[in-house]
Every structure is written in structure tokens, then in C-alpha cells.
Symmetry: C2
Subunit: 239 residues, 2 copies
């Protein structure tokens, strides 16, 4: 089966906000082209928040991005980032790492998790949570990611995030992230709207003052909007 | 002057399409967070088109991205990418390289050009072309970029592109890129619309079959759309 003929496209939307009163988010999100085709998204939540967390998440993201850019496979890049952080900080510093890739060689979406933060997936009409044990990088020897692959299939959604999304409003009570996403997708299937409503909701739960850095990435495999092979990128950066 | 209080944001939109009948674009566009604050966009047009060009543009972009990610300044990263390509291919291969950065430490937009392709700028109510001599990387010893800096100022636009934009429809006649962009911004100031109309126009000039890879990036410094410090990213990748 030639996937190219299906006229699909990957539409990804991410939104990121820093903890209230922090000058910057401690999360890092990077995107890199895979040299053998496709793209990868690397999301890292550094320990604590603010400047210190940012340095850590930057170091981890940079290591992963630079390896993926050289064609290294996702699992090996995650292991290397762990080894690097573990060596550099003698196991005293942790980071949550998630890699989400569109791999054109295997024609799959590859999810590599080193985080306790669940991933939400919609596939073949079913919503599910991927939350099997996945140690963060940096703490113990021989940490490795848990990896899941999905075929390119129209209507597939994958939502990754840092734990700020899950813990939003937690001072009061836990909230139903999966239920909210399901409703958001039913209302408007565009990843951009889903990411936006998720971030609004999380901020609202914290009464407009996020208690932690929140980063969200929503990936959808959808029919091409314009029917042609145009790659697009839109970025908003507050200054 | 504290720029942060101005409530500005950088809105960047890029669009990229491959030469007609080529399986992939030979251009590479990458984005990377600057470790001391801000983001950089790296646009590379590899010699020829298709797979060979892609390999070259990938190598150059990767080198630049990895150096910028480590905090290396833009001019040094461009020089390093040149030296690397020059050494690796003994001066036989060229690439056009443009780096456009939002540098939070100097509070400027930094444009580094190693290309004959002009950059279009709108600043303080004036449109202009930046087209001073700037050798591509890879060919001769000691190549260096030409660098221009702009302060963060609401209403500033910078448009960078690969030469496919300028040569669109060239079999018939040259077209007025600057005039078109000026009108596009007057019609709709959103960088996303400007990038979209530019790509449409370029494709139309080639009767829907681009004669070369075309990549366009439109950067605008504008008032924040939502008033809060949310960073956003939207990506569409045809598969």
C-alpha cells in the first residue's frame, strides 16, 4: 500500500505556557526533520521550574534533537539523553522526556516515553490512555523509554503533555483530561482548536495563574486540507 | 526600556513546497530555541534539487541548529557551517543559508545571509530589499555571512525565502515580489496569510508545477493576539 496516495497530512498543534510569575517555562519543545523523512517532536519537562528547569530541559532536548537529526533512532536517542544527563549530574537531576515522531521509513507514528505523564490516543474509533511505567531520564542506570507505534491512519490523534496539564487545579480536585479531550475533538477536530481549548481549560482550573509549566501537543492524522504537498509552519512567540 | 511590557509577540509563518515531480523539497527549514532566550529559524537551499539537495541542506541546517542550540552566535554558526561543508565536499558543493533569529539578549531580530536571494523588510513604515553581496556557503575559503539587526518594533516584517520564489514563472518574465508582498500585507497583515498568498502566487506563476523548490518564511512583530504569554506552534506535514 502506497501511503502517499492517501492524501493524508499530519497536523500538529502545540501550546506552552509558563508557571505563573515565572519568567520562562521550564519545558522545552523542539521539532526536527528526520533525515530519512518525517519529523520528530521532542518535549522535555526539566525538574523544578524557571531558569534551572529550563537549562536541564534544554540540555536534554538538544541532545535528542541533535541525534535524531543525524538519523539515530528514537529509542537510542532517548537512552543517550538519559546517559548524558545521568553522567553530567550524577543521577541527581531528572527530566521527563517524550518523543513523538512521524517516521516515513517505517510509515508509523512512534511514541517514546520517559515520563509518568500519560499519553492520550484516539485510534480506530477508540480513546485510550498510554500510561505504562516509563522512568524519567537522569535518575537511575540503564533507564530506557517505553515505545509504542501506530500506523498512519486517518482520524488518529495523539496528545502528549507535561504534567502541568494533569495537575492543573489539583489543589482542589483532579480533572478528567481524557473526557475533556474527547469532547473537544467532537466539537472541533482541528488539532489547533483542541490544543487551544486544553490550554484554556488548564489555565482556568488554576484561576489564570498556572501552578506549573504547561505544555501540550496535539497530533492528528487527517485528510489534506489543500490537496497539495505543502508543508506549513506557524509559530507565535511572546516577547 | 523593558520590551516585555510592550505585549508584543513574534508571529512567524512558513510554507514550503517541492519542485514539481520531485518526491521531496531540497530545502530545509528548521527552528531551534536559543538557550539564552528567543528562537532561530534556519533556511537552507541545497544545490540542485531532490534527494541530493536535501542531503546537503540537511547537513548544513543540522550543523547550524546544533551550534545555535549550544548558544553559539549566529555569525559563528554560519561560518562553521560553511567550513564544514567546504571541508567535507572540497568546495564542490554550495548551499544558500539564511538564519533569522529573535535574540532576547540583544533584544533584536538578527538576519544572517549567505545567499544571493534578497530579504524583504518592512520597518518604520518603509519597505526595502536587503540584497547586498552574500556568498553562499561551501564554495570558497573564509566565506562569511552579511548580518543585519533590527530592534523589536511593532509592525516590523521580515520575509526570507529560497530562490524558487524569485524565479517562479521566470521562463516567461520576472515578477515583482516586493510589490506583491506589500499588497498582501495591506490586505491582511497576518504573517500566515502573507505566506499563503505568496506560495499560491508562486505556484500559479509556474502553472501549478513549481520549477524549483519554494520555501517562504514571513516574520512579523505584532501586538499579542491573546494578551497572555502563550507560545504556539502549528505544523502541517503532508504524508
Amino acid at each position: 500500500m502506497k501511503i502517499v496516495e492517501l492524501g493524508l497530512e499530519l497536523r500538529v498543534a502545540a501550546a506552552k505556557v509558563g508557571k505563573y510569575a515565572s519568567r520562562e517555562s521550564g519545558d522545552t519543545l523542539e521539532m526536527i526533520e528526520r533525515p530519512r523523512g518525517g519529523v520528530s517532536f521532542v518535549l522535555v519537562d526539566g525538574q523544578t521550574s524557571g531558569r534551572g528547569a529550563k537549562t536541564i530541559s534544554n540540555v536534554v532536548a538538544r541532545k535528542v534533537v541533535s541525534l535524531l537529526g543525524e538519523g539515530v533512532r528514537d529509542g537510542a536517542a532517548a537512552r543517550a539523553a538519559h546517559d548524558y544527563l545521568f553522567t553530567h549530574y550524577q543521577g541527581k537531576v531528572r527530566a521527563d522526556l517524550t518523543i513523538l515522531s512521524l517516521d516515513m521509513t517505517t510509515q508509523t507514528i512512534v511514541l517514546s516515553r520517559n515520563t509518568h505523564c500519560p499519553t492520550i490516543v484516539f485510534q480506530e474509533g477508540e480513546w485510550s490512555l498510554i500510561q505504562d511505567m516509563a522512568e524519567p531520564v537522569g535518575l537511575t542506570t540503564f533507564t530506557k523509554p517505553t515505545i509504542v507505534e501506530f500506523p498512519f491512519q486517518a482520524g488518529t490523534y495523539v496528545v502528549i503533555s507535561t504534567d502541568g496539564l494533569w495537575s492543573a487545579g489539583a489543589r482542589k480536585q483532579e480533572w478528567d483530561v481524557l473526557g475533556f479531550i474527547r469532547e473537544a475533538v467532537e466539537r472541533d477536530a482541528e488539532p489547533e482548536s483542541v490544543a487551544q481549548s486544553l490550554l484554556c481549560k488548564a489555565t482556568e482550573l488554576d484561576a489564570g495563574r498556572p501552578a506549573d509549566d504547561v505544555s501540550i501537543l496535539v497530533l492528528g492524522v487527517l485528510s489534506r486540507a489543500d490537496g497539495r504537498g505543502v508543508r506549513r509552519l506557524v509559530v507565535h512567540v511572546p516577547i
